[in-house]
């Protein structure tokens, strides 16, 4: 393994899964500082599992992971995480700012007292996601797009070096998706943060992502969009005939006569 400041995530012969049953095997990759990696693949192909392994929720079945120079462990303060599912919306009718206050240094002991440094930190992330206008409104009254921005602000607390964003575009309208992606691109330029972003549809990410990590059939491949999202690469990955069609600057991945990537997003609630 080549360790250097610039290589923020390295995996070697990594196999991940649950109960000794691998979901993806033999992942070998090196992700550099400041990269935007789009993680694609069908449902259940291991995208969220990969995040769980990076966060230290699950141990590798075999192989190694190095993240920011160490093996994954719970509570790494330099990783910002935006989970796909929120188990429940709390009954407490809190403002977006109150939720950020609760999340800022939330794993410390003691009372959640307000402080100057905390307020500055919250102001900073709210500015980054351009959400100052509705920060003091009740979180429950915000739209889906506004909520996603607050969740992004939450992931940006405590100045992370890596952002793990799990399906942040699901359930957003196409125009809101684009606003979110542009915002994320700006943030990345400002902070030089490394972003790993899972999605169903590659199209919203085409302009911003540096490389694609594609999971399917228990395997993983990584490379540029032009290398990975091609008929040849995907056919060999899926072990069946896949066609990639370019149409109006969009990509359609067709297998068995169906668009196997883009369509799924709408069924996924």
């Amino acid at each position: 393994m080549i360790q250097s400041e610039n290589n923020v995530i390295i995996t070697e012969n990594l196999s991940i899964g649950f109960n000794h049953h691998p979901i993806v095997s033999n992942i070998n990759l090196t992700i550099h500082k400041g990269e935007f990696i789009g993680i694609l693949g069908p449902n259940g192909s291991g995208k969220s599992t990969f995040f769980k392994a990076l966060l230290g929720f699950i141990k590798p079945l075999s192989g190694k992971i190095l993240i920011l120079g160490s093996t994954p462990q719970h509570g790494h303060s330099h990783i910002g995480y935006m989970p796909q599912m929120r188990s429940q919306m709390s009954i407490a009718n809190l403002t977006a700012r109150s939720i950020l206050e609760a999340s800022c240094k939330g794993s410390c002991y003691g009372l959640p007292l307000p402080s100057k440094s905390k307020n500055l930190e919250i102001e900073k992330v709210l500015e980054l996601v351009k959400a100052i206008d509705y920060a003091d409104r009740s979180f429950r009254q915000l739209s889906g797009g506004e909520r996603q921005r607050i969740y992004l602000a939450q992931a940006l607390l405590d100045s992370p070096e890596i952002l793990l964003l799990d399906e942040p575009l699901s359930n957003l309208d196409p125009n809101i998706q684009e606003i979110f992606i542009n915002l994320l691109a700006d943030i990345q330029n400002n902070l030089n943060v490394t972003i790993l972003f899972t999605a169903h549809d590659p199209n919203p990410l085409l302009r911003v992502m540096n490389r694609v990590l594609f999971f399917a059939r228990g395997k993983a491949v990584i490379g540029s969009v032009n290398e990975i999202i091609t008929s040849a690469t995907l056919s060999s990955l899926y072990e069946t005939k896949i066609e990639v069609i370019h149409l109006n600057q969009r990509l359609y991945v067709i297998g068995d006569g169906q668009n196997i990537l883009g369509e799924v997003a709408h069924h996924h609630d």
Binding site: L55, F57, Q73, H74, G75, H76, S77, I79, Y81, P83, M85, R86, S87, Q88, S90, I91, A92, N93, L94, T95, S98, I99, E101, A102, S103, K105, G106, S107, C108, Y109, G110, L111, P112, P114, S138, Q154
Partner: protein, 275 residues
């Protein structure tokens, strides 16, 4: 003229002090019970305590001791369910009804004063002794200190369990720790309103407070103030009318909750007509 004769009796003074202790703790703990969606678990802990309180009579312990031991053990069990607790209504329901049944068996076997059942079920604030007051005071202090210690983590983990876990907080241990604090709050509250009506004091003020507030501190402070206010007014009304304290407290909670709901409906109409 305001009738101040209420303070002339020792038992009334004890009742007010004990009620205040229970209210402070119930208001603070109740806020977390609400934001963690644990209302049913709190209700169940009250009922489970019934078996402990009546069992204690059988072996000549004070009911509060038996109730305390039973609820703490139940709390540890429920806490160990972790995040699954919100989906465990059936098992909690079966355990709580078994404990009520067990309590009725213990009372049947106990051939003493039959009024004990009513006292455990509906509270007996006027019968609180100085000894009970001491126990209640130290239990309150202990729980408030424990809550202070974990408040920040608990708030974060209650609002964002997935993130909290990613930041290294053990949700199960936190849940067990909080459930023990909740067991103490329930034990104290049932001295005031009885095991049947624990819900009204632990859930009521906090449920009202979260609807009026949008911040953690304003929410938890309002919850505690409401709890104290409701208990004081309840005791005073009971003194004047000679109706049970439990009735007045539950009626006050009901009335204030009703007003709050009306406010929300009103607000909803206004915000709809804006559109």
């Amino acid at each position: 003229m305001i009738d101040l004769s209420i303070f002339n009796y020792d038992f009334m003074q004890n009742a007010i002090i004990a009620g205040t202790f229970a209210a402070i703790l119930a208001g603070a703990v109740g806020y977390f019970v609400i934001i963690r969606n644990l209302s049913f678990a709190a209700h169940a802990l009250g009922h489970i305590g019934f078996a402990g309180a009546s069992g204690a009579l059988l072996i000549a312990l004070s009911p509060i001791t038996g109730q305390f031991i039973f609820t703490v053990f139940a709390a540890i069990g429920m806490g160990a369910l972790g995040e699954r607790i919100s989906k465990s209504d059936m098992i909690i329901g079966i355990v709580l009804s078994f404990c009520l049944g067990l309590g009725s068996l213990f009372l049947h076997l106990y051939n003493g004063y039959a009024g004990q059942a009513t006292i455990i079920l509906f509270g007996n604030l006027l019968g609180v002794s100085s000894h009970d007051l001491h126990i209640m005071f130290w239990l309150m202090i202990l729980s408030l200190l424990s809550l202070t210690l974990i408040a920040k983590r608990l708030l974060f983990a209650s609002l964002e369990p997935e993130l909290a876990e990613a930041k290294g907080i053990s949700l199960v241990w936190l849940s067990i720790f909080f459930m023990i604090i909740m067991a103490i709050a329930v034990t104290l509250a049932s001295q005031v309103v009885g095991v049947i009506l624990v819900f009204t004091l632990v859930i009521g003020p906090a449920a009202i407070a979260v609807q009026w507030t949008h911040h953690f501190w304003s929410g938890i402070c309002l919850s505690m103030l409401l709890a104290i206010f409701i208990v004081w007014i309840g005791i005073s009304l009971s003194y004047v009318t000679d109706w049970p304290i439990s009735f007045w407290i539950s009626a006050l909670v009901f009335a204030i909750y009703l007003l709050t709901s009306l406010k929300n409906i009103q607000f909803f109409r206004v915000s709809n007509s804006d559109k």
